[in-house]
């Protein structure tokens, strides 16, 4: 049903008279899922907003060339994930941040974030997630919070299902350890 709907939207997008309408529908349909996906990687709202805008601009520019070999949402997630990871890389490079410093600064930002409404344990969980290596962090968020299937994750992250399962297992172990020690 959802695939059918995406196909219809893509068909409408390729007709110049309904192009803007179709894109608007795509934005409305996927903005929240992509926002929360990026927000869990980036943590603060302002940067997430910038990344989400850039993601949709790229989608607008590239949608004509989308060949429908994969699901639309897989392609959108891929673009959003790449945008978020590139942002993190450039942020670390810009401020010459080693990983441990990034971990601390992200934790501090979270404590003063007006758009974080979690309790103490949820704050601790987010701080634990920040300590994970990039790939484990992505896999943990997508599996634990978004409850995404490994098959879909595999297409988005270009990684085998076995490797994703191993990453999730390691991530959970590390988070449990962090929660026990802090």
């Amino acid at each position: 049903m959802q695939d059918q709907s995406d196909k219809e939207l893509l068909k409408l997008f390729r007709i110049s008279s309904s192009r803007n309408y179709a894109f608007d529908m795509i934005v409305r349909k996927y903005q929240e899922r992509l926002y929360w996906h990026v927000r869990k990687i980036i943590l603060n709202h302002e940067d997430t907003d910038d990344i989400l805008q850039n993601t949709f601009i790229k989608i607008w520019n590239g949608l004509d060339n989308f060949r429908e070999d994969s699901h639309l949402f897989t392609w959108l997630y891929k673009i959003a994930t790449n945008e978020a990871l590139n942002f993190l890389k450039s942020k670390k490079r810009r401020y010459f941040l080693p990983f441990s410093d990034y971990e601390h600064s992200a934790g501090r930002e979270l404590e003063s974030d007006p758009y974080f409404n979690g309790d103490e344990l949820q704050m601790k969980l987010q701080k634990a997630i920040v300590t994970l290596p990039e790939k484990q962090r992505l896999v943990f968020n997508m599996k634990y919070f978004d409850e995404m299937k490994y098959d879909d994750m595999s297409k988005i992250l270009d990684t085998s299902v076995g490797s994703l399962k191993a990453s999730y297992h390691h991530a959970v172990k590390k988070i449990e350890k962090y929660l026990n020690e802090n």
Binding site: D24, W36, K40, H45, Y115, Q122
Partner: protein
Amino acid sequence: MQDKSKIPPRLSEIRKENPFSTPDNYFDEFPGRIRSRITAREEESKVFPTFEKIWQVLRPQLALVAIIAGFAFLGYHGFRFISEPDQVDVSGDQISEFFEFQYYNYDHSLLLSELDEEDLLEDFYQEDEETEAYIEYLTWDDNLDLYAIVAEF
């Protein structure tokens, strides 16, 4: 019974809710903001369509030319460096020696000229005045005695 506060918090005990929020009406306004950004970009590309088209055509070709020029430059200098390494070293030494010599030489002559320039000119003018006085004396009132000069030499 174990004190509950001492039980280490575990993942399963944490509420699996989204702890983040957004500003009010964020998702209602977001599509409009995206639409205006796209419109602005399209307007920009309408203002300079020819330039953009030319640039898009030329850009890969200019990149190719730049790469070829870069390789040619590196190849030429690399070849020269490999084929004539001694000459490069010697000429470097010669250049430094030349500059060293010129430096001391220049300094020396400058010093001398600064010190002696006024005296030398004074002597020259004095000598010149004396010569003129002799000539004047000899040509004035037929004081020039050719026989006496011939007898002298």
